[in-house]
Symmetry: C2
Subunit: 181 residues, 2 copies
DNA sequence: AAGGATTGTCAACAAGTGTTGACTTCACAT
DNA sequence: ATGTGAAGTCAACACTTGTTGACAATCCTT
């Protein structure tokens, strides 16, 4: 009993790292079991299927909890996260890549949309004041994710040499503009 | 000679549609040749490989030419594009999906980054005034792509019921803020 | 019309995919 | 100690992937 739990957790850990950085379709079961050091058949045994394993990795989403705590802290955290260069070991960066990669995945798109809507956009809207909190939350997310997209994925040279402080100020400015307009 | 050209074009057309909407890794050679109504072996014959076919589809990028014409028109067009709901048949939407899908692809990421940098970010920066045009162009792209991301990919409910005019005004406001800060 | 090149078809390949079932190994209660 | 169930191993399955080479069909030139 307790033996199976540890193997499950080894699988979950490896699966999360791989799925989150490379996307559902680009990761094979053997990639995961290879990293976890277990047999490939155990995925079907313990999680039913590859998809079951993927969905199990979604049940632990640590970064979002912190991000949706309260609006001010959310702004600071998100802006801070963006200001840093891309770090493949950072949890928030991996979660970001994970969202992008899998929302575009033909098999996982719908699942990810619902997860983002219910787990991030809705809680954030609840914290954002104003007349139309859902709309403002969406625009705020647009600014933050757009910035992260350019910085961490497209890696535009226009942002490469810019000091961290300058970037932070710019994103904060745009984020506040998104909330107040 | 002329026969081969038409089959090449049929392949290119089908390849572009499939690659741009579903991503490089998610599209098989047989998917494309099936839609084009030709044999799968002709991909290797005419384009060397699947990757060759993909790169051939990159040489025609109609939407970006218009978008990078001049900054004002770019703003109008981009904001207009965003304001519309997601349309899987629209060229600009497909190009957007294409960029997102393939920049995250482990095999195509580097190619797409260079393409975006040289084909979009750099020309746009040349049109954008100010002291640091590259930086401002990057922030402008962050706003536009972030908005499109929330609207067309994540499909947040907070943006679903909003009138087109309101969205257009908001994005325009943020875009101008990105250029002027 | 004959010959040579271009174009298209077909089958097969080696490798990789997710998943399954039979088997062995092990731990623990009786 | 023995039997029962869980845990892990192994080989194989049916399928899809990109690519290749041999073959047939078609076209154009001479």
């Amino acid at each position: 009993m307790t033996k199976a739990v540890t193997t499950k957790q080894k699988l979950l850990q490896a699966a999360r790292r791989q799925f989150w950085t490379r996307g559902y379709s680009n990761v094979s079961v053997r990639d995961i079991t290879g990293e976890a050091g277990v047999d490939a058949a155990l995925v079907s045994r313990y999680f039913g299927s590859k998809q079951g394993l993927f969905e199990a990795t979604l049940e632990v989403l640590p970064p979002w909890d912190a991000l949706t705590a309260d609006p001010d802290r959310f702004l600071d955290l998100a802006v801070e996260t963006f200001s840093q260069p891309y770090d493949p070991d950072a949890d928030t960066d991996n979660a970001f890549t994970m969202l992008l990669t899998n929302i575009l995945d033909p098999e996982m798109g719908e699942t990810m949309r619902n997860h983002f809507q219910d787990g991030i956009a809705a809680p954030l809207a609840a914290k954002v004041g104003g007349e139309k909190p859902e709309q403002h939350a969406a625009m705020l997310l647009a600014v933050l994710f757009g910035a992260a997209l350019m910085r961490k994925q497209f890696r535009l040279s226009g942002l490469a040499g810019v000091p961290t402080e300058t970037l932070r100020a710019q994103v904060l400015h745009l984020a506040q503009a998104a909330l107040r307009f």
